[in-house]
């Protein structure tokens, strides 16, 4: 049994310590918002937060996640109202949408660590999240908007 917290809930899973966290999230827990893209940490579609860090769940084994706090796109906010989620809706960022749960999870770490990111900061943080529809300009715009929203909500 491997115990971990997923989106605030303690889970005890009868899975192999070698199993990728992504498998447990999607197939065992049924949280399908996190996507499988490449399976080798090259695309960013599977990004979730592991103790706050934007890990790629396709290469993160359950043995690493044991006892830790996992947050998926489903648990990023209570009402889908994280500033990044609101900004993504406002700008209408996605085209096909497949990569965007990973994009938003990465953006959330950037916004936490750097509340007012420059274009360069955004590029530095988001370069590992690939979007085959090429929505990069809208992603950048949405992160700036999310930064503004986050700033206002704090004042």
């Amino acid at each position: 049994m491997i115990q971990l917290t997923v989106n605030g809930k303690t889970e005890k899973l009868d899975v192999s310590p070698e199993m990728p966290l992504l498998w447990a999230i999607r197939d065992t827990l049924g949280l399908t918002g996190t996507k499988f893209g490449c399976g080798v940490a090259q695309c960013g579609a599977c990004v979730v937060h592991l103790d706050g860090e934007a890990v790629r769940s396709c290469v993160t084994k359950m043995s690493r996640a044991e006892g830790k706090n996992v947050v998926t796109i489903e648990g990023l906010s209570e009402n889908n109202d994280h500033p990044a989620q609101k900004a993504w809706q406002e700008i209408d960022v996605p085209q096909c949408g497949y990569c965007h749960s990973g994009q938003i999870m990465s953006a959330a770490v950037l916004l936490r660590e750097n509340p007012n990111p420059s274009d360069q900061d955004i590029d530095d943080a988001m370069a590992g999240n690939i979007c085959r529809c090429g929505t990069y300009p809208r992603i950048r715009k949405a992160i700036h908007l999310a930064s503004e929203m986050q700033g206002k909500s704090r004042t």
Binding site: V40, A41, Q42, V47, E53, A54, V55, R56, V59, T60, K61, R64, M105, S106, A107, V109, L110, E113, N114, D121, D124, A125, M126, A127, G128, N129
Partner: protein, 213 residues
Amino acid sequence: MIYKQKTNLMSTKTKFILIAVILISTIGLAFTVSLRKSIEKEYIVITPVKKDSAASVAAFKQVYKVLMSPRCLNCHPKGDIPLQGDNSVVHSMQPKRGKDGKGLYAMKCSNCHQAENSPGLHTPPGNPEWHLPPADMKMVFEGKTAHELAKQLVNPELNGHKDLQKLIAHADDGLVKAGWNPGKGRTVPPLTHAQFKKAWITWLQTGAYAPAK
């Protein structure tokens, strides 16, 4: 009586010589210790087992081959983005060094590089300590000649504040040794780890001489 006087005179002279020798030795010793302390502040004091510039330079040439191999070089780049692969190209996704060498924001090394190699060909290699040198001590290997790199490695202001013992111990650092377990699709350095360690210690203990410019 005359003989006795002569003996006394000889004794005084001997005493004078003895005192002079002791004084000069003490001053000399104090000067050496003080000089050594001032040198210690700027350089590592290499106490060679046996100084041997030829053996030292020969050993460093072996060491240099390893340090310039992709497994070592790729994480000691000139810029702030690591290199990757046996052809040492700029790392895909362009992850940045960050202040502590562990990446930035959503692009931290350990987000992809696990505690162990990921399975499969050309998948992310892993180690619990995966990182670049920090921003304030970049310890660049890329583009360095053997002379430049040898000088850099024994300068504590450029080598991560390592003294001789720490330099020797660094041969057994977990991340250094990970170079010999690079994951599928990557070549290992040209020497075995044991050969590298022997050459590294030989270089240091024979005086850490830098090859000529």
